[in-house]
Point group: C2
Chain length 260, copies 2
């Protein structure tokens, strides 16, 4: 049975910490440099907190570093000054190789929940895919077992696969959201409510929950509807940046469309 | 009280026809050139169908042309050979000006449900925004009243606004789905399940149901995380088309990122 210490109480740490406690897993302590974050998570879970790395509880069996990518190594360097035997250290980053922890610990790995978390939104953690990895098979099994306590979807994913997942996640999450913002901005300039697009956005996402996106593609580009595209491009002349995006994405969907 | 004749039983006609009947509105007849479509909608609603335009029931008060954009004018030309007095004719297209019906009828307009429909998916029609327009105010009021019977969201939207909405819909629906397909394809090439991305896709859409997308933007581009972006671009060298998309969208989000 794991005794967990959670380093970091940002968006990932906040949701992960609450889920651990919700599932009755022993969470011994929460660390955050930001006292408001530490206090908030502590209040919601009843778990002790600290804001000082040197005060980290050394009685844990598993330390989860849910900190920004750029400081994983730095936190590891501070922690490794204590004497750890079989203690397992993992980070939660999609973009960082597990090897970043190798110089500091003999047992290390990755525990990556593939989801976009925000403090202001509840999430159904049982549906969050959890990607686990560790060089020692027994460590990987421990992480898999923990993942399975938190979520219905756990995957053994190596560094290379995780980096590919992270690229794909940028396309379907960050870039997609940027396109939502384009829609939002165009409507705002015409004094139209974004509520007009919200149901369409949700349905677009729901459609690919059962089907593959290739089967679901619709619209003027895939139809080869040059007339509509010409009208859209004419309208977009007042938004050169959006027009370029439109051209690039339209040509991506259908290379035969004329976009000039 | 409207007596409706529905011309077209494709994705829009299918869902609209079923919703009309579900709401107890008089649907007198369904037309489709495709007998399977006509028969399916007829079977589900108990409404008579025809596959011949010359057999269209002339006792309707409102004719809804839910046909492909390219044939709206052609269908109108055939229909206008009958004698109509105050009968109202509308199309359901987001991309077609209402004026396409003007040469044929004295009462015409638009009844545009802003959603992506597919025969294989049920939809909550009460959440579908309906955009109505007509040159005669009393016709517009009739269409608004009908829309309010079908949906909680009805808007008076003129031709220009509707064309802007259509451009925006292409960004948030067609282009977004194309990005989902990129994610799907990258994962497939690595033998990873698209199930890994599905919860992320859904959450990305859910996040903007209450918030505006600009507040929700995350990821390496907005963070200015050049290291991660460099690694992504290196990985994407094997997918030149996806790499171009990545560059274009990353620069769109953050013009200060180096992408070469």
């Amino acid at each position: 049975v794991e005794k967990i210490v959670l380093i970091g109480a940002g968006n990932v740490g906040y949701h992960l910490g609450r889920r651990l406690v919700e599932r009755g897993i022993e969470l011994r302590q929460v660390f955050s440099r930001t006292i408001e974050h530490a206090r908030k998570l502590s209040r919601q879970t009843g778990v002790a907190f600290t804001t000082k790395l040197q005060d980290i509880d050394d009685g844990g069996s598993l330390y989860i570093l849910a900190v920004p990518d750029a400081v994983i190594g730095e936190v590891a360097r501070v922690l490794c000054k204590k004497k750890w035997s079989d203690t397992l250290f993992v980070h939660t980053s999609g973009a960082t190789p597990s090897g970043v922890l190798k110089p500091y610990f003999s047992h290390y790995g990755v525990f990556y929940p593939l989801q976009t978390f925000s403090a202001s939104r509840e999430i159904d953690f049982s549906k969050v895919p959890i990607c686990v990895d560790a060089p020692h098979p027994e460590d990987k099994d421990r992480l898999y077992a923990l993942g399975a306590q938190l979520s219905e979807q756990v995957y053994r994913i190596d560094d290379r696969q995780r980096s590919v997942l992270h690229v794909a996640a940028v396309f379907v999450n960050n870039f997609t959201n940027a396109l939502f913002e384009v829609g939002h901005d165009i409507l705002q300039k015409e004094d139209l409510s974004f509520d007009l697009l919200r149901p369409l956005i949700l349905e677009t996402a729901e459609k690919v929950q059962k089907h593959s996106p290739g089967q679901m593609q619709t619209g003027p580009a895939i139809r080869g509807d040059q007339n509509t595209i010409d009208r859209h491009l004419a309208y977009l002349e007042m938004f050169p940046d959006y027009r370029r995006l439109y051209q690039t994405l339209t040509r991506h969907i259908n290379p035969e469309i004329r976009i000039d």
